[in-house]
């Protein structure tokens, strides 16, 4: 009945544990520091290329050199045990392909997200598989059942990342949480003959309970973003990190909105996407009707405050998911991987023994 496929992922990524614990390719935040720590701890770390791939060769070179100085056991030959995340609508595919082709070690996965049009996914998939000689596996992030089935048909990806509404940062403005989305995607894939594609759940997962929930919903692993913000490895200001620790009641202290993109001058996202962030003074003032140019000026002034510009009384955009209220301290990324793995297994064992044969 369980639709997870731990064996497929462990065969493809032999340095990893099951369920697979993935660190999200957070733009500007997830560099080789975070990715190497996660992969060394039997997880799967991603670096973020995002929309701007002009420095992709440096990003990958840095990751290769970090991996060489701190090797990950059981890595396949000529593979970098780290993935790279691309925001397809803004990233230049020709550059991506040439960098991958020339890379000494091929990234273990390319994570494709938010193409201008769904059909672009196929071009990206074919190009990357060819440029990497099949070494770079294709992960595609989706947020509806329809997107899931379409991506499977067009690309037969190696992994589908199913992102629910609770996720921090960018995602679909409208979607359900993984509680119903994951099983519905799993069933639809099975019905269409794609039941063997492993699913990674994303959105609202920050601890062993969330990991265990994802597994019983049918995922072979989880991707966490917000939780990895509270690590020494995340490249964020101390103000951001402390705002993540401080926030509670994540369903009401965060919200999905396009306001934060506008205030930061982020343009180009397809209309169906927005981002979840911590509600702060920028948001409240907007709700009260503050003129947006004025809000933008105050936003820029807040940036000059440094760490003091963050938090619920600050103004700086603090992308984070609803799980933020469960994060109480900064921990090394590798410890987080081990903790959630171990806790999720304990919880599954306890639940099984509590409810067996009742």
């Amino acid at each position: 009945m369980l639709s997870s496929h731990p064996e497929i992922l462990q065969a493809q990524y032999p340095w990893t544990s099951s369920p697979l614990i993935v660190s999200a390719p957070m733009r500007l935040i997830a560099t080789e520091k975070l990715a190497v720590s996660v992969s060394k701890s039997t997880g799967f770390g991603f670096i973020a290329a995002g929309t701007d791939v002009s420095n992709l060769s440096t990003l990958i070179a840095d990751a290769i050199s970090a991996f060489k100085s701190s090797p990950v056991q059981h890595t396949p030959t000529a593979v970098l045990p780290i993935g790279v995340g691309f925001i397809c609508w803004g990233a230049d595919l020709a550059t991506v392909l040439s960098v991958i082709k020339e890379a000494e070690l091929k990234p273990a996965a390319a994570w494709l997200f938010a193409p201008k049009e769904a059909k672009d996914l196929r071009t990206w998939t074919d190009g990357i598989r060819k440029a990497s000689d099949g070494k770079t596996k294709i992960w595609i992030q989706v947020g509806t059942v329809n997107m899931t089935v379409e991506a499977a048909k067009a690309c037969r990806p190696d992994v589908l990342v199913i992102q629910g509404a609770d996720a921090g940062g960018h995602g679909l403005a409208q979607s359900s949480s993984i509680i119903s989305l994951l099983p519905e995607c799993a069933d639809a894939l099975k019905e269409e003959g794609f039941g063997d594609i492993p699913l990674i759940a994303a959105g609202g997962i920050v601890d062993g309970r969330g990991v265990a929930a994802a597994v019983v919903l049918g995922a072979s692993g989880v991707c966490m973003g917000t939780r990895f913000l509270a690590t020494p490895e995340a490249v964020i200001s101390e103000g951001y990190r402390q705002a993540v620790i401080a926030a509670i009641d994540g369903g009401v202290s965060t919200a999905r909105t396009s306001l934060y993109d506008r205030l930061r001058g982020t343009v180009g996202w397809p209309a169906e996407y927005n981002g979840r962030g911590v509600l702060n003074q920028s948001f409240w003032d907007h709700e009260k009707g503050l003129d947006e140019d004025e809000n933008m000026k105050m936003y820029e002034a807040a940036i000059s405050l440094g760490d003091a510009g963050w938090g619920d009384r600050g103004r700086i955009t603090t992308y984070a998911g609803t799980g933020i209220g469960l994060i109480k301290k900064v921990s090394p990324a590798g410890d987080i991987v081990q903790e959630v793995l171990s806790d999720s297994r304990k919880i599954l064992a306890e639940a099984n023994s509590s409810y067996r044969g009742k």
Copy 2:
């Protein structure tokens, strides 16, 4: 690590199984037919008083007579193994107390939802406990961590129903799904000394996978509404039932909105609530800018069409949660209880054996 309390619920409601499967008190829909079927099948059925308690004594009398003609094993003396749901902002407490006091069998639980002010919960709780001589247990539905802790402090309820954003019908306009809400509520309650209050998860749960997920997140049971719409026992038109079966991709085929309340002329809900329903022609026309009076006229015309007024091309309000896409057929309510119980246990066992010691 698991924060669920199956033993507390089974002691209080000895006719039930663990995890507890609850049918939601859906206004006008959940009558004694649904409630008795669910409770007879080792679940916990609720009837809905809603906001209008003028016919409460009839509702309870009908439930008592249905129970007597079809008894539920292991029911405590003088107790009706069925609960009653109240929408507190609109329901007259004096009437409620006098009906409960005079009832030959006391409802096993009163489910309190959406008070005008949080402090009203205490008045309701004290009144019902007294009127029922403690036989009617107090269940309180909440949707944020703050509401959860406040309700626990004010009332020490017997059960807290934690409702996430995926739920159909009325709930908080802003909240997270249970994926992060349930664990954050469980932790906050534990920290405040209320770790022994059993939690029931609601929102997006329709099958054994959702039940298993709720359990590992820390719930002792689940409440399902949408799933029980697709039963012969639900008092809904065939058009509504078929619309539930037909809808897919629940995260995008439903949405939270206050439009449907306005079109139906439902007034009085506190500002922080709205409802999740299937997107239909009323919604699309509203999005295109159709005048609301015009929309309301077309709504009324659709009602006169009967079953043909429903569905995504219809106009009639179809409250349902994001799990709607997982519901493919009509099944007797008792079969649903047995199916999700059995599936959830199998899934927990499989997940435990798949991931143990990896």
